[in-house]
Symmetry: C2
Subunit: 251 residues, 2 copies
């Protein structure tokens, strides 16, 4: 846990918070902190700050939070469109997306998505949110990605996405991962202060109809490399490669 995330329902008012779960355990048993010690915290969807321990009891921890500082938003702003994978992989995609600062996560249907995946209890906010918070905690971020779940491919690209674009005043760069192309991210014009949408296909890849429809919706195909990756590795690879392209040159 690199950053302890505090939620509204932990608040006691007046910048004081009480932790009663694995976070309290982490602070006392792993970090081995005591009354008067401080550690970094992030307020969910808010700033980071310093928490000082006021009280430790058998099962809870009371802290006072100070020195709150907003976290600058990641640039470019990245949304992820992901063919809904099996639940074990959904957990990994949620974690990675939160850790790496994805703004919105759209799970969509695709030809190679099993319909049964939509029955998973994991797709309820109360079940998926903990995986997002764990990712924020790892990545030292606080902004919870928004998660949207669509069960029709065509409707998403023909109706949902155009509506989303209308409501925004910048046009995103739209990219669909596809091992069949030779074009890499290095060949794509990326606006660092703009928006970008990555579409990541299901295990087995997109079918030709899906590629056509995405291209019709303004997506450009790109390859992540020579390998065939699993969904969670493709998400990590895409976000890492983008980070490299947008990194400040320090050498």
């Amino acid at each position: 846990m690199n950053l302890i995330i505090l939620k509204d329902n932990d608040s006691l008012g007046q910048n004081r918070y009480r932790l009663e779960d694995h976070r309290a355990e982490h602070v006392t048993s792993v970090l081995k902190l005591q009354v008067g010690d401080s550690f970094q915290v992030g307020l969910l969807n808010g700033p980071k700050g310093i928490a000082t321990i006021e009280e430790i009891s058998a099962k809870s921890l009371t802290v006072r939070v100070e020195k709150l500082e907003e976290i600058p938003p990641p640039k470019p702003v990245v949304d992820l469109v992901c063919a809904l994978p099996r639940p074990q992989t959904v957990k990994k995609v949620l974690f990675i997306s939160a850790m790496m600062g994805v703004r919105s996560l759209y799970f969509i249907r695709a030809n190679r998505v099993e319909k049964s995946y939509y029955q998973s209890p994991l797709l309820e906010p109360k079940n998926y949110t903990p995986h997002l918070i764990e990712g924020l905690s790892q990545g030292k971020l606080t902004r919870l990605p928004e998660v949207f779940i669509y069960d029709r491919f065509k409707v998403f690209f023909e109706n949902v996405l155009p509506e989303l674009e209308k409501s925004s005043n910048t046009t995103p760069v739209k990219l669909a991962a596809d091992p069949e192309t030779k074009i890499s991210l290095a060949d794509v014009k990326i606006n660092e202060s703009g928006r970008l949408i990555f579409a990541i296909g299901p295990e087995g890849g997109w079918v030709p109809f899906e590629i056509e429809m995405m291209e019709g919706a303004g997506f450009q195909r790109f390859t992540l490399g020579r390998w065939i990756l699993r969904v969670e590795h493709a998400v990590t690879a895409a976000l890492s490669q983008l980070e490299l392209l947008c990194s400040d040159t320090g050498g």
Copy 2:
């Protein structure tokens, strides 16, 4: 399973192989192939080819393999030095390394590595090899990465690594991931036809003494990006970023 990997002990001689495990199950139940059908296979540490089904019984599958073709080795040749993580993460690092074509994998001790991790039965070849083969199968590669396990940090960098370098006729570019630097892979001179060693630290990072010693051994620090990643994501990120830098421009 993107590529079925065949091993020596599957061989019946004369290019015929018998499969009796989950691979047979995959071919008949997932791919739904029948006698006379063909699918792609890779011989472990050898070429890829086409297997044609000769016989299907309740529990086994007999195939004849033809059209063998060597797979060109990945470039640059990458070795990975990884602070030994907990066993669940070791499995992921093994899988990812094999999937993404790492040649040799050196697990080493570091200050933030728990000594108990060295007791894991997973560190025996018979237990770790299946994870490597699963990774090859995903990445459509056949060359099994070599795995080495060292329990002393200093000895590895002062004795083992120099010996390895002496035995090779090219000097590798040596890079240590460290979130504390601003230098990204884009700032590093990479020889695409040469060798490269990535060093990935433990959860919590390297300690200053380790950074110093690695720098003394010719390692240059680099950052994978703004986030704090878990070990398995750092491995994926490093290999993906390298792939981007070495990709042919196709656009």
